[in-house]
């Protein structure tokens, strides 16, 4: 039996893939299917799911409302479309900012002396040792009215005799953006570093030898060769930012509600899993569409190129 397995390469492959296949089937495919079924259901008055085929949850998400101020039968309520749009723009902005901040740092680490690189990478990873939620709370301490940032600015203002009223930074879209950028920065630094580190030094020398200065080398050689890292980082950042609700919950309060918060509230507070399921699927479809067009333009990051 064992001997036969040793000779059968394809059976070995099947055996190795089996645990993950079971995992994905029972914990991803089936729940996803259930979500789909529930999203077409209706909520009973006491919060149970009535299984039927109704598109009500989806039309509601895109603004169809029967609860109208002027007593019409139906009207457009932009609430949920706004939430979807806010999530999308926040994810774009976060990803863009994270790329802008991560790239120079990744470049610096990749070009550092090999002995120092590990130390720098280690420093990038240190924040990940602390729980995600605790780190977001730490930002709350920094940003709130009596927080560290206001204290420092106030102190500087008093030194310069400038009148200062503490800034309202917490519970703003800006606070959520700062929190997101902070949380997801390492996930961009690492893949960009990996692709930059693979670029052989002789390529930079060849570019200089052929007449390219530092800026042209960056634009024509370094950036294109490190695109796979940027793509991989974007996927690692954009998708979770689209769905996360902790950062916006703690730093945005009721002011900044994202799809993630909406879904969470439907399942817990509003006890409407049918609407929550529909929102979940719409979130997933939006993310897939963006990722599809993005990777079609820039590839999947698989064609890592080096000398």
């Amino acid at each position: 039996m064992l001997k036969r397995l040793r000779e059968n390469k394809s059976a070995q492959g099947t055996l190795l893939a089996l645990p993950t296949t079971f995992w994905l089937f029972f914990l991803l495919i089936i729940p996803l299917f259930l979500t789909l079924v529930i999203s077409f259901g209706k909520r009973s008055p006491d919060g149970d799911v009535i299984y039927t085929f109704s598109l009500d949850n989806y039309t509601r998400l895109f603004g169809y409302s029967t609860d109208c101020p002027n007593g019409q039968a139906s009207c457009f309520d932009p609430l949920y479309v706004q939430i979807l749009w806010r999530s999308l723009t926040l994810a774009f902005n976060t990803t863009a900012l994270v790329i802008i901040m991560a790239y120079p740092l990744a470049y610096f680490i990749a070009r550092a002396h090999p002995k120092k690189r590990n130390l720098f990478l280690f420093m990038v990873l240190i924040p990940l040792w602390t729980n995600f939620v605790i780190r977001v709370y730490a930002w709350m301490m920094l940003l709130r009215k009596e927080g560290a940032i206001n204290i420092i600015i106030g102190w500087l203002a008093s030194l310069l005799h400038i009148p200062f009223t503490p800034l309202e930074m917490l519970y703003t879209p800006g606070a959520v953006l700062v929190g997101m950028v902070y949380e997801f920065l390492p996930f961009m630094i690492l893949p960009i570093y990996t692709s930059l580190e693979k670029i052989d030094n002789s390529l930079y020398e060849a570019a200089a030898d052929l007449g390219a200065n530092a800026i042209k080398t960056l634009l024509r050689i370094t950036l294109p060769l490190s695109m796979p890292g940027v793509v991989a980082g974007t996927i690692l950042v954009f998708i979770p930012v689209m769905g996360t609700f902790i950062v916006s919950d703690i730093l945005g309060g009721r002011q900044v509600i994202l799809v993630g918060n909406l879904i969470q509230r439907q399942f817990l507070d509003a006890r409407d899993p049918t609407f929550g399921s529909a929102a979940s699927l719409i979130l997933m479809i939006m993310t897939l569409i963006v990722t599809y067009f993005y990777t079609r333009k820039f590839g999947f990051g698989e064609e890592i190129v080096a000398a």
Binding site: D200, S202, L203, E205, A206, A207, A208, D209, L210, G211, A212, N213, K216, R220, I221, P224, L225, V305, A306, A307
Partner: protein, 371 residues
């Protein structure tokens, strides 16, 4: 051309700090003048300073002391992109995200050349290296030899005054390497530009070069034409590094204007009438050097000068030549005989234990200072 010399290095020193924190001179007072249109090789084993010297000419490194001149102009800290030299890298350093055409066009775009002109020059360069029609391929779709040609064309398309080549053929197999050696040499003669070629392969250097600088430990051991380097090595290192030599230690017994006799203890006799270079004095410890193929071997004593009886200890047949190892008194020597006649008859070989006579003709010997 403003200067007689394409490239000149004057008293160039390059020091590095080793990982252990020690200072080490990779290049230690190198002075060389490379003429316009010359095929010049720097030859030496790894760590001899040849690549560092080339990198200083390219501008990737700057000298700690001394100065590099290109076309008579001191280079100082001029960056590579402002030097009229181009490099063919050992690893080729092709841009994998660009096609062959884009690789070649890159350098011209940096000069601000017009698209029309780029097209023309890239086409000509590809033709020069026989890669016409390959312009839309990616480097990785090409064989090693083709990639090497792309690297060469990418440097040549810039029409540099000086082309620097850092072991460009190192990754190719032997047959292709030999083809490319001749091709490179022909290309250099056709273009008339200066080639500075770094290699550790002596045969390669001898095949292609007008002049060779043999380097060791950061210093130039000898500079000269291939014939000079091989026939008149200026010290024991060069005699040993280029080709093979038998070395016999001895002491100068008598010295005339241009001849010396050396007493060789291991032969228990004198070798006489050898030509000498300047700077040797009577009584000095020297090394007599003679190449294996320059020793005449005979099975009869013809009573000539410098003829010594020897005993065969081993013979090795390697196709074109036969190597004969002999003991001469206490000295062990190697003699090389060309197989100019068929060796099918076993009697055509010397047998182990046989007595033979070796003739060291004075004009084939060298008297070198003992290091």
């Amino acid at each position: 051309m403003t200067s007689e010399f394409a490239v000149e290095m004057r008293d160039v020193v390059k020091r590095f700090i080793t990982p252990e924190g020690n200072e080490m001179a990779a290049v230690d007072r190198v002075t060389m003048q490379i003429k316009n249109g010359e095929f010049f090789s720097m030859l030496g084993s790894s760590g001899c300073g040849k690549t560092t010297s080339l990198r200083m000419i390219a501008g990737f490194e700057w000298p700690t002391e001394g100065e590099v001149y290109i076309e008579g102009n001191a280079m100082g800290h001029t960056p590579p992109f402002q030097r009229k030299v181009n490099t063919v890298f050992q690893s080729y350093a092709l841009f994998q995200h660009m096609t062959v055409y884009q690789n070649l066009a890159f350098g011209l775009e940096m000069e601000g050349a017009k698209e029309e002109e780029i097209k023309k020059r890239v086409g000509r360069a590809l033709e020069m290296v026989q890669l016409t029609g390959m312009d839309r391929r990616r480097p990785r779709q090409l064989s090693g030899g083709q990639q090497q040609r792309v690297a060469l064309a990418r440097a040549l398309v810039k029409t540099p005054d000086v082309l620097l080549l850092d072991e460009p053929l190192g990754a190719l197999d032997l047959k292709l390497r030999k083809e490319m050696q001749l091709e490179l040499k022909a290309l250099q003669q056709q273009l008339g530009i200066t080639f500075i070629y770094v290699t550790h392969d002596q045969e390669e250097a001898l095949t292609m070069s007008d002049r060779i600088a043999v380097m060791s430990k950061g210093q130039v051991q000898q500079m000269g034409t291939p014939v000079e380097i091989y026939e008149r090595p200026s010290n024991k290192f060069v005699a040993d590094f280029i080709g093979e030599s038998n070395f016999l230690e001895g002491k100068i017994k008598s010295l005339s204007k241009n001849e010396a006799s050396v007493f060789v203890p291991s032969l228990n006799t004198e070798v006489t009438g050898m030509p000498i270079s300047a700077g040797l004095v009577k009584g000095e410890d020297v090394v007599v050097s003679i190449r294996p193929e320059k020793i005449r071997i005979a099975d009869k004593d013809t009573k000539s000068n410098n003829m010594f009886r020897a005993r065969v200890t081993n013979t090795v047949y390697i196709g074109a030549d036969t190597h004969i190892y002999v003991d001469v008194h206490d000295a062990k020597m190697k003699v090389l005989e060309q197989n100019r006649i068929s060796r099918l008859d076993p009697k055509s070989f010397y047998v182990v234990g046989q007595d033979v006579w070796l003739l060291l003709m004075p004009e084939n010997t060298l008297v070198l200072k003992k290091d």
